[in-house]
Amino acid sequence: MSWLIAETWFLLLVAFVLGSTAAWLLHRLVRTPARGARR
């Protein structure tokens, strides 16, 4: 049972990390062209 809990927490942690990575990539993708497109 405790192993199951540990696995669940680990899954949540991985999901959190994946989410923050995705947000970072998206943020970089969205913001960088705007910075380069200086008019």
Binding site: A15, G19, A22, A23, W24, L26, V30, A34
Partner: protein, 224 residues
Amino acid sequence: MSWLLRDNWIGSLLAFLLGAGITWYLLDRRPATVTPPVPTADTPAPTPPAPAAPPRPAPAAPEPTPAPAARERQSAHEPPPAEQQPATHEPPGARESPAAEVPPADATATVRAPEKQAEFSQLMDGEPTLFDHIQPGAETGAGDAPGVPAGRYGVGSADAVPHQGPPDGFTIKGNAQSMLFHTPDSPYYGRTKPEVWFRTEADAERAGFTKYARRPRKAADPRE
């Protein structure tokens, strides 16, 4: 392992969204601390195009759909941050400038020591110094200092006495090891320990010294 994800997909999704939201918030807040207009232009934007979503819809999106939406928001609502961000976000340029400012290494180790604090000495550029009142040209015109014996480099030079200032009218510091002399204009003037003082540049050059000049470093920036 998939059953775990299948059973906890809601929790995983929430963790994903939480991580994405926190990261997006932190990334977005960083320029906003420097330029206050950014959040004011940005925060009203998410509300109209996102009816059913967490406060920030864009982080919920590893899928491609919100990315164009966010980009439209970007282009529609905030031209000013796009122009302001380069000013706040360019550490490489800021990092390069002190490196480029550091003058080239001189031939000897004695002149090399001041390089480490070149930035500090440059901070003092333009500040008044103790030597501002000294006019080298006027001093030479005023005549010789009577009580100053000629140093080992002849007339116009004076041997430096440790922990003592120069004789009157002697403003140029000579470094006997590098055979360079520093006028008060030199960035290393304050840090050079004089071994010999000269009254004029001509005196120093006659003694075989060379004026320190900041030479451009070879291949200072190979990318350019």
